[in-house]
């Protein structure tokens, strides 16, 4: 367990998780959706709404909880998006990185990495992220490919 190991001085008390999905669409197409960070609720079913406010993103979960997130990086060159949830009663530290990796065959791999404290909550976030990546894949692959 992350916390147990931390008390023994072995690792930081972070929970760390990576989700990924391969999408049969070009990396630029997929990146365009992810880089439109204020519209994450369009493909993240656990969010009922999302909006940008300056450098922050406010998402509202399906059960009505608002999360404020700092947008840390939207890197079009690397196709990398990074953000962190502003600490609240449950989440103490958080950083997430979403990468879109071109696989060179008109497909790409989306990786969604999350590190957070408390460690155990990363599992609960991961379930929502896995569902979101699958939704993203379904939405993009259902759309006709660009010609």
């Amino acid at each position: 367990m992350g916390d147990l190991l931390a008390t023994l001085g072995l690792v930081a008390p972070f929970g760390s998780l990576r989700n990924d999905v391969r999408i049969h669409r070009p990396a630029d197409v997929v990146w365009a959706v992810i880089a439109d960070v204020g519209r994450v609720a369009d493909w993240f079913p656990s969010f009922q709404s999302s909006r940008l406010s300056g450098t922050q993103r406010i998402v509202v979960t399906r059960n009505g909880v608002s999360l404020v997130e700092n947008v840390l990086r939207v890197d079009h060159e690397q196709r990398r998006f990074q953000y962190s949830v502003v600490p609240n009663g449950a989440i103490r530290e958080h950083r997430a990185t979403v990468d879109v990796i071109d696989l060179g065959d008109e497909t790409c791999l989306v990786t969604y990495s999350t590190d957070m404290v408390p460690a155990v909550l990363v599992l609960a976030l991961g379930g929502g992220i896995a569902e979101a990546l699958e939704t993203l894949r379904e939405q993009l692959e259902a759309a006709p490919p660009a010609t």
């Binding site: 979960t61 408390p118 460690a119 155990v120 909550l121 599992l123």
Partner: protein, 517 residues
């Protein structure tokens, strides 16, 4: 009009909880009376020793590797096979009260229907249940009981022991008189405690049914699962200072450690506090530090909770009688898995397949109208020694309802006599976990008086480890005979049977882990 089905389950309850099974502290006359009028199974095992996989087995009638809920935190899909749906489709009214836990409690995003019902002021339907009113072990979360308690008795909601600590880990903080983990004096009024609430809600639903309705009512009490915080008004029932230590508690530390050292190494690692393999035990608690008085106090609280459970069962049975249904109602009583409760110097549960966690109560009081001599029925035996499992509950309910069990059910109707021909005489239990870098897998078979567990390669095991116990000679599984050359043939036979029965886990085929619990 058919036979009605009343299923009582508790949570994390040992075989010896009830008087009929040898419990000598808690007074349980209502359960004992039902057992006296029915059949008691003396060797019933769950197919997993943690909640979500085990409960998924109850509702599906499938082994863990089939329904796919391989550890806590894995959700059973809403469309998964369900005995409730089978009975609903056969014309039964169906309901569940109390702890369902087919979906994770940890639900940051509000993804799971069980957690959404009360928020939406809904009581279903879901999973084949027409009606659901859900509860867990306290006042947090968005299940019906928690929301009811916070809305109606907010001052009482604050009196529970906090199951999780500020890192959302199982809380190790000590309480009570002895500083035992997960123990607290709870000032809540008895009537507002979840045991009575669950019984009250079940009785209220029964009152809504037509007299000639066929119904399936699952009354699923959250106790005696930790936290051990029964209403303080009931603490007079059992004074921990008066209790003998449980038979499975090894008082001498050196002897205790020798017993643990003869088992696969994760036993001793957990005892020493160097490895916690699963979420269900507090990672900040070191079992080796537990005192005999702490064991007594935990047990006293459990006995009190068991008495309250018995009285709640008695109240529900009273309502069944008042409605005139008793003669036509089959009553099943079981739990989802056991609890160490001090055995080997341990508490809680985990990847440890011994009787503390494996041997559970199973009682079937068949509808009296179905068993009379002269009605062409075989008179049931009072006790059954053959191994049975929770996987057998769903097909048993099909048999009660006169329905052919669907092909997807893997169990068999519970035997009613010791001379039941053609019935499998083994019971299987699986453990799989993979949490924060610690992976563990156990496969267990109980057959012919032997209990054998094999270990698959994982974080601390190389796949050669195992446990083998003679249940008759070693009722507390103190002597691991896995490496006894004189038992090589027995071990090989049991392991071959086990391998044939349970395929190795395919981690890519597993349902996703989406929460700690």
């Amino acid at each position: 009009m058919g036979r009605k089905i009343l299923l009582f389950t508790t949570d994390q309850q040992r075989y010896d909880a009830w008087g009929v099974n040898g419990g000598a502290v808690a007074r349980t006359p209502h359960v004992d009376a039902l057992a006296a009028a029915g059949t008691t199974y003396r060797r019933c095992h769950p197919q997993s020793v943690v909640c979500m996989p085990s409960r998924s087995t109850i509702i599906t009638g499938q082994h863990v590797s089939t329904h796919g809920v391989w550890m806590n935190g894995v959700a059973l899909p809403a469309e998964a096979p369900s005995i409730a749906r089978v009975l609903h489709d056969a014309g039964y009214r169906t309901a569940i009260f109390g702890k369902a836990h087919f979906e994770p409690f940890f639900d940051l995003f509000g993804r799971f229907r069980e957690n959404a019902l009360a928020r939406e002021a809904s009581t279903g339907p879901h999973r084949g249940f027409d009606h659901l009113e859900l509860a867990t072990h306290g006042p947090t979360g968005s299940l019906h009981y928690a929301m009811w308690l916070r809305a109606n008795h907010p001052e009482m909601a604050a009196g529970f022991y906090p199951v999780l600590d500020d890192h959302f880990q199982v809380n190790a903080a000590g309480g009570g008189d002895t500083g035992a983990p997960q123990v607290k004096s709870n000032p809540i009024a008895r009537e507002a405690y979840h045991t009575d609430w669950v019984a009250d809600r079940a009785m209220a639903w029964l009152d809504t049914l037509d007299a000639d309705a066929d119904w399936f009512c699952w009354v699923s009490f959250p106790d005696p699962h930790h936290p051990w915080n029964p209403p303080a008004s009931e603490r007079h029932r059992v004074d921990w200072r008066d209790l003998d230590l449980p038979a499975g508690y090894i008082a001498d530390p050196a002897t205790r450690e020798r017993v643990l050292d003869a088992k696969p190494r994760h036993w001793r690692q957990w005892y020493d506090g160097t490895l916690v393999a699963n979420f269900e035990a507090p990672p900040r608690w070191v079992p080796a530090t537990m005192t005999a008085d702490q064991v007594r106090e935990v047990n006293a609280n459990v006995h009190i909770e068991n008495e309250l459970l018995d009285e709640a069962i008695g109240r529900v049975m009273g309502r069944v009688r008042a409605r005139g249904w008793d003669q036509d109602t089959d009553v099943l009583i079981s739990t989802d898995h056991g609890e160490f409760q001090g055995d080997y110097g341990l508490l809680f549960k985990g990847p440890y397949h011994v009787d503390s966690l494996l041997r559970i109560p199973m009682i079937w009081r068949a509808a009296p109208s179905s068993t009379g001599i002269g009605a062409g029925q075989v008179v049931p035996d009072r006790t059954i020694d053959a191994p049975v499992g929770l996987v057998d509950l769903a097909p048993t309910m099909c048999a009660i309802a006169g329905i052919t069990p669907p092909d997807w059910m893997e169990g068999q109707p519970l035997p009613t006599t010791n001379a039941a021909p053609g019935r499998e005489s083994r019971v299987l239990t699986e453990w799989d976990s993979s949490l924060f870098g610690v992976t563990m897998a156990l496969r267990t078979i109980c057959r012919d008086g032997w209990l054998a567990t094999t270990y698959l390669p994982g974080t601390v095991h190389d796949g050669s480890e195992g446990e083998l116990y003679s249940l008759a000679d070693d009722p507390h599984q103190l002597v691991n005979r896995w490496n006894d050359p004189g038992l090589a043939g027995v071990q090989a036979d049991l392991c071959a049977d086990l391998r044939a029965a349970i395929a190795p886990p395919d981690r890519h085929a597993r349902r996703p882990l989406v929460a700690p619990v």
